[in-house]
Every structure is written in C-alpha cells, then in structure tokens.
Amino acid sequence: MDIIILNNIYHVIDAISYGLYAFLVGGLLLGFHRKIIARIQGRPGPPIIQYLIHTFKYYLKEISIPITAGNPLYIFMALMGIMVWLTALYLGVVFKTSLLILIGLYVLQKIVEHGCGLSSGSPYGKLGGVRSVFSAAAEVPLFAAVGIIYILTQSLIIKDIISYQLLNGPIIFKLPFAAFAFFILLISKAPNSPFGIVKDKSIVSGYITEHFGILESLILISDAIAWFVLLWLFIAVFIGPIVILNPLLTLIGMVILTFIISIICALTPLLTPNHSVMLQILITALVIIDLLHKSATI
C-alpha cells in the first residue's frame, strides 16, 4: 500500500516537473521571440527572461473581480487555460497518444479566449472574444491536415507517426501543404503575429483586458506551455525522430523554429480581421483540395 502511494507521489512530482520544464522553456522562447522582434526593429529590446519576470511579477499582484463579471466562469477560464495545455503536454509529449485529442485540446484554447472575453462583461474583452470566434477559421485547415496525415500513415497516434518517420523519413517533404497549414497555426498563436487579431492593441489587450494580476499570470503560464507543446508537436509530426528523440536537439529545433516565426512576425503587419479570416479560409481551401486529391488517389 505504502509503495503504491510513494509511487503515486513520484508520478505527481514527475508530472509537475514536466510542466515546470515546459513552462520555463516556453517562457524563454517567448522572451527570445520578443528580443528578435526588437532587434529587427532596431531596438535593444528586453532581456530574454523578461517573459518569466512578467509572470512572477503579475503573480504577486492583487486582483479585484469586476462588478460586471460572471463568476466563477471569470476565474475558471484562467485556470482552464493551464489545464488544457498541461493535459496537452502530458497526452502529447509524455504519453504520445492520438493527434486528434491534441487538436481537440487546441480547440479548447479557443473556448478559453472566448470565455475570458465574454465572462468579464467588458466591451473590449467582448470584441476580443468575438474576434477569436472569427479566427476559428485557422482550425479548419488543421482538421484537413489531420486527414492528410492519416491517409499517409494510417494512424494518428503520435508514437506511430514517429515510428513511420523512422522508416520513411520526415513527413514534411511528403505533405508540404499539411505542414504549411500547421505552420500557419503556429504563427497565429505567436504574439505580435499577422493573424493576432485577438490581441490587437486597438482593443486594449483583447480578451485578457479584464484578467489582470494573478489571473494574467496564469494566462501567461498557459501561453508558455502552449508554445512549448505546439513547437514540439510540429517537430514531432513533421520533422521526426531525428530531432525528437534527443532532448538537446529538440531544444535547438525549437529555437530555430521560434527564430523563423519571429522574423515573419517582425516583418509582416497586423492584418485586419476580415483579411486575416479570408487568408485563413484560402489556406483551408488549399488544404481541403489536397485532402480530396490524396483520398481520391487512394
């Protein structure tokens, strides 16, 4: 009996340390992202650990629940962000289960954005939430990409996808459209991205306008974990075991990906909501045509 409990405690510590690792790496990468954008724009920029410093600073700030908020949804949404991404981290990175579950969890991130915006009752948050619903078009290519991957590998379990790549080489050369769709998703998740209509500065801070103090800190934590998980997923699904089986190489791959995305984010302007949605629908159409072509030939 005692051994089981000790084992359980060991597993819990294991899980928490995984989460902490993901948070630290994701936070550093996001700080790096900010630094590169600053350098490209000719500014010195904040130090790389700025993201982590922000998180700890907000963690020690008091909050006050707005009079218009709908509780407990208002607080629960911030917690849900971390829940979603920790679950994605464990199911994807640790247990390597189905890709479909991870896509489902990514979709829940939309619920978090929408819920944060709506539950506060603030018009700015509301606009951020409604824009988040609009940009749900970014997920549709993802589903098509999942279909394409399934047709190629006959499996959606990440473990199987990795072992497929061990035999046949990286998927990115075989399915460029699916990889492109996934890459667009990464870009739209990055801060200051051309698709970042949700956190547009013209609507104050978008959906996190009302989530300040410790709640903002929670959202920052979840964003850092999300960045780690999404980068890992891209590398695991499209580039494969050469990079993913060695933690150090994985880290280097993440840094390179972040670097590419930062350059894209720094050099492109923010699109207006309708242009952003139109572009995403265009990519969707492209990927769906690819899916139909692939499934018709098989």
Binding site: I4, I5, N8, I9, H11, V12, A15, I16, G19, Y59, L60, K61, E62, I63, S64, I65, P66, I67, T68, A69, N71, P72, I75, A78, L79, M80, G81, I82, M83, L86, T87, L89, Y90, L91, V94, F95, S120, G121, S122, P123, Y124, G125, V204, T209, E210, F212, G213, I214, S217, L218, I221
Partner: protein, 68 residues
C-alpha cells in the same frame, strides 16, 4: 472576507482534495498525470491568492472593470 480571498480559499481546498484523491486512490499512471493537470491550476491560484499583498484601497471589494 472579499470574494477574491474566498475564491482563493475554495480553489485551494479543491486542489488539496484533488491531489489527495489522486495520490491515495489511484493506480493508473495516465489518470495521475491527468489529475495533476486538472488540479495544479487550482493550487497555483489558491497559493497565489494567499501570498497576495493586502490591498491599500480604502474600499475593499468590487470595482467596475478596468477598461471603464
């Protein structure tokens, strides 16, 4: 007690109960990991509310939202 403090205490209680459940009554590794994912945020929020400084505002409690 302000509603903020109250929410912190409630989430701390939920977190502690949840962690006790997964440590004492679970024998599946996947379940332990998912339980950790579910209850860690409650713990983080609860502890954060406990270490929050005392407010310096004269009227403690609810205010209209920040964008106003």
């Amino acid at each position: 007690m302000t509603p903020e403090k109250k929410s912190g205490i409630i989430s701390l209680i939920i977190g502690i109960i949840g962690f006790a459940c997964i440590i004492f009554y679970s024998n599946n590794v996947l379940l332990i990991y998912l339980g950790t994912a579910l209850f860690t945020p409650f713990m983080i929020y609860g502890i954060g509310m406990m270490v929050n400084p005392k407010t310096k505002r004269s009227e403690e409690g609810r205010i209209p939202f920040r964008g106003w």
